[in-house]
Amino acid sequence: MNSLLEHWRISTFRLAVLFGFLFTVANVLLLGLVYWQTTSYLERRIDGSIVTMSGYFKGQDRAQTVAEVKDAVTYDLRKSNVYGLFTPDGQQIVGNMERFPKLPADGKIHEFYHRTLPQYSPGGVASEMPVGLARAMVRQLPGGEILVVGRDFTQASEIKAIILNALIVSGTFIIALGLLGGFFLSVGPLRRINTVRDTARRIMQGELSQRLPVSKRNDEVDMLSSIVNLMLEEIERLLNEVKSVTDNVAHDLRTPLTRLRLTLYRVQQAMAEPGHRRMLDNALTETDALLARFRALLRISEIENRQRRAGFGQIDPQIVLTPIAELFEALAEDKSVRFDVHSTPAPMIHADPGLLFEALSNLVDNAIKFTPEGGQVSVTLGQVEGVACFDVIDSGIGIGPEERDAVLQRFYRGQQGKSDGYGLGLSIVAAIIHLHGFTLTFHESARGTHASVRCGNPQS
C-alpha cells in the first residue's frame, strides 16, 4: 500500500495511469460503437423479415390463416421462425409455440422468451427445445383470434453477448496493463529519487564529500542532480574555509592565552605584598574561567567535526550509568538533594562510552545544580520502543517551553537560575548526542526538568 502511494507520487506513474484511463475510455467508445451498430443491424434485419412474414397473413380468413400457419410451421426447416394462432382466451389453435406469450396485441415487435413445441423440434418428438429469445409481432385478427409471427433471436443475442464480453475483458486488460506499465515506468525514477534521498541523508549527517549520482542520459533528474552537486561543492568549500578560519583563530588565541596564564602565574608567585597577591589571584581565577570556556568551545567544534570512528562500539548502556551514580551521589548529598539511579534491562547501543558519559554527566550536573536543597534528582535507564533511553528528572526550577531550544545554543544561560555554569555544557551535550545520531528531548514537566536521551536512530 505504502509503495503504491510512493509510486503515485512519481509523475511518470501518474502520466501512465492517465494515459491508461484515456485509452480505456477510447476503447470503450470504440467497442460500444461496434456493439451498438451490430446489434441494431441484427435487430433491423430480423424485424424486417417479421414484417414481411406477417404481411402474408393479411386479408386472409380464419381457415386460410390456419392452413398458412400450419404450412409455415411444417416447412420451416431451420426452426428459426415462431408462429402461433391463438383463440382470444390464449388457446393455441395452430402453431409451434409452447404457450401464449403475454404480449400486447398492438402490431408492434416485442422481444420475449419462448420455447418451440417438441413435435416441431429437429431431433424428434421426445426431445425438448431449449428456451430461446425471440422477437415477434402480435396482432388481433378481425375474428378475435390472436396471431403471433416472429423469429428466433437467440443467435443474435449470443453475438451481442460476445461483443459485450469482449468489451469488458479488453477494458479490464487495458486498465491492468496501464497500471502495470505505469508502475514499471516509475520504478526507475523512484529508485533514483531514493538514491538521492539516501545521499542527502548522508550529507546531512556530515559526510559533505558525498555527491548525488549523475547518469549518462543527462535527463531532467541528472540536470537537477548536477546543479545540486555544484551547490554542494560550493557549500563544502565555504565550510572548509570557515573551519580553517576558526581553527586558525583558535590556534592563534591558544598561544597568547597560554602566555597570559603563564605570566600571571609567575607574577603572582613573585609578589609578596598581600593586596597585590589577592588581585592577581582574582586575575588568575578569571583567566582560568576564560581558559575553561575556550576549551569548552574548542571541545564543541572538535566533537562537531568528528567522524564516528575511534571509541565507538557496541556497549551495554549500564556501563555508562554506573560511574554516573558513583560520581554524582556525593555531589547531590553535598547539596542535600535526593539522588536515585534506577535501571531496567536495556538493549545494547552503538556509542563512544567516554563521550556518552560526558553528555550524561553534564545533564546530571545541571540537574543537581538547578535543584534546590531538599529536592530530588533521578536518573533512569530503560527502553522505549526497543531503544535504550536515559532519563534525567529533577525537581528544580525547570526549563520553560520557550527556552527548550535555546538551552542547546552556545552561551545560553537560563534567566531564572544564577549559577557559575559557562552556558556551554548543554551545547556539548547537544554536539555529542548529534554525533551519535541519538535524540535529546526536554519534556513537558509539571515541576523541574525532564531530559531524555534516546539512544537510537530515529530513522531506523
Binding site: R259, L262, R266, F294, E302, R309, A330, L331, E358
Partner: protein, 230 residues
C-alpha cells in the same frame, strides 16, 4: 633525592611558552634546557642525559609524534609529557600510543604542567608492584582493601578507596583536579563545578578526623596534596 640533579628537556618552538615552562620547572628545582627545533630536540632527547622531556606536538622540521615514536623505537624510556594545541581525543590517544606518558592540551596552566611532570618522574622511580601504601600513620592495604589511620580501620567507599590510593601513590605531589579526574575516573574532559572538591571533602572527613594532623591539603588554585605539610 636532590631536585637539582633532575634535568628536564623542553622541546618547544614558541619562545614565550618555553621561557615560562622553564621558569616554572626551575622554580620546582629542576634544571631545564630548552630546544626550539624538532630535529635538534630528538638528538638531545636521544642522548639519554635527561630525566624527563616536555614535548610540543607541532615543531619545525620534525613533529612531536615522530620524535616520541623514534625515542621509544631507540629504547629510550625517558618520561615524555606531550603538550599539544590539538585537543582532539583521537590526538590524545595517538600521542599516548606513540609512547608519550601524559598529554596536556594548550592553553594549559603551567602549575598543572609541573604537577604532571613531577608525577611522571615519580612514577618512573616507584616500584611497580606494591601491596601496601603508607604515609605517616595512614595505611592502605591493596590486597585486603583496608585503610587504617592511626591504627583504626576506616570505612571507605569504592570511589574513595580509589581516590585515596591514587593520592597515596603520589604522596607529596601536587595533584590537579583534571589529573585526579583522569586517573581515578579515567575520563578526559573538564570536570564540572565542584565535583572533585565534593569527593575530596568526603574523603577528608574520613581521613583527617579531629585531633590528628591533617594529611590532605589544598594547594590553592591548583589542586590537592597528600602528605605532611612542611
Amino acid at each position: 633525592m636532590t631536585s637539582a640533579q633532575i634535568k628536564v628537556l623542553t622541546i618547544e618552538d614558541d619562545t614565550t611558552t618555553a621561557r615560562e615552562i622553564a621558569a616554572e620547572l626551575e622554580a620546582h628545582g629542576f634544571s631545564v634546557e630548552v630546544e626550539g627545533d624538532g630535529k635538534a630536540g630528538l638528538e638531545k632527547a636521544a642522548s639519554g642525559r635527561y630525566d624527563a622531556v616536555t614535548l610540543d606536538r607541532m615543531l619545525p622540521n620534525l613533529d612531536g609524534l615522530t620524535i616520541v615514536t623514534r625515542l621509544r623505537a631507540a629504547g629510550i624510556e625517558t618520561p615524555v609529557l606531550m603538550i599539544s594545541a590539538l585537543s582532539d581525543v583521537d590526538e590524545r590517544v595517538r600521542g599516548l600510543r606513540a609512547g608519550g606518558d601524559d598529554y596536556l592540551t594548550k592553553p594549559f596552566a603551567v602549575d598543572e604542567m609541573a604537577a604532571r611532570l613531577e608525577v611522571l618522574l615519580r612514577r618512573r622511580k616507584a616500584p611497580a608492584l606494591v601491596v601496601k601504601l603508607q604515609v605517616e600513620d595512614l595505611e592502605l592495604d591493596l590486597i585486603e582493601r583496608v585503610v587504617r589511620r592511626n591504627g583504626n580501620a576506616l570505612d571507605l567507599k569504592t570511589t574513595e578507596f580509589r581516590l585515596l590510593e591514587y593520592m597515596m601513590r603520589n604522596s607529596g605531589q601536587t595533584l590537579t583536579r583534571s589529573m585526579i579526574f583522569e586517573a581515578v575516573w579515567n575520563y578526559h574532559f573538564d570536570p564540572y563545578t565542584n565535583l572533585i572538591e565534593v569527593h575530596m571533602a568526603r574523603l577528608r572527613k574520613k581521613i583527617d578526623t579531629p585531633g590528628l594532623p591533617p594529611l590532605i591539603h589544598t594547594v590553592w588554585g591548583t589542586g590537592y596534596m597528600l602528605g605532611v605539610k612542611d
